[in-house]
């Protein structure tokens, strides 16, 4: 993992069109401002992982499970 040290107000540039700026620091909380093209989705990681896991659980379908819906 690349590790960079930045001060408040400084940024990191990723590729041509993604900028991450350190907006503020308050104790152990760091505020980041992110500029990215609209097609790039930005998520808090733990939330995104939760959705990934829920999707994996939801996709474990079998005919029998779907039959539940038909009341078979």
């Amino acid at each position: 993992m690349l590790v960079l040290t930045r001060k408040i107000g400084e940024s990191i540039q990723i590729g041509d069109d993604i900028t991450i700026k350190v907006v503020g620091v308050d104790g152990d909380q760091i505020k980041l401002g992110i500029d990215a093209p609209k097609h790039v989705d930005i998520h808090r990681q733990e939330i995104y992982q939760m959705i990934q896991e829920e999707n994996k659980a939801a996709s474990q379908l079998t005919r029998g499970v779907i039959d539940l819906l038909s009341g078979k």
Partner: protein, 155 residues
């Protein structure tokens, strides 16, 4: 086009029934093309079936059946990704996580599936700053629960 489906076997669908999820779904980024199939015996649910992978399918339902007050703001990024022009062009579904009975099954209200029916572009939107979670009861009312659980146990 012919596609192989989990529930209906091999079927034919029109190319125009293909819904494109440009970024896939979280956890399934490589799968970008799906189609919506109706269940013959239950119109409350639909199957979002991958066009390319037989085993990949999700059960969807319209969340408003159960959660009439469900609402969220669609972010500008999604509006432009899906090229949404009018609110009426948008259909919102929730993914159902089915368990051993309908009573134990849940709805993911935190990450709705949004489809622009005008151009068949879809996206699973991850809501932020929301009280909605990934596991809301599919049948929040106790009467419905009792019925469904009896039903499931009798199988």
């Amino acid at each position: 086009m012919k596609i192989d489906t989990l529930y209906f076997g091999e079927i034919n669908i029109d190319q125009e029934k293909v819904i494109t999820f440009e970024n896939g779904l979280p956890g399934f980024q490589d799968e970008q093309e799906y189609t919506l199939l109706n269940l013959p015996d239950n119109q409350a649910f639909q199957i979002l079936q991958s066009v390319h992978t037989r085993e990949l399918a999700f059960v969807l339902t319209v969340p408003y059946f159960t959660y009439q007050d469900y609402e969220f703001d669609l972010d500008q990024g999604t509006v432009s990704q899906l090229e949404i022009e009018k609110p009426e062009d948008v259909t919102v579904y929730s993914i159902v996580t089915l368990h051993d009975s309908l009573k134990n099954s849940t709805l993911n209200l935190q990450a709705p599936v949004v489809i622009n029916v005008k151009n068949n572009r879809g996206k699973q939107v991850v809501l932020t700053d929301t009280n909605y979670k990934t596991k809301h009861p599919l049948q929040p009312e106790s009467e419905g629960q009792a019925h469904a659980s009896t039903h499931a146990e009798n199988r």
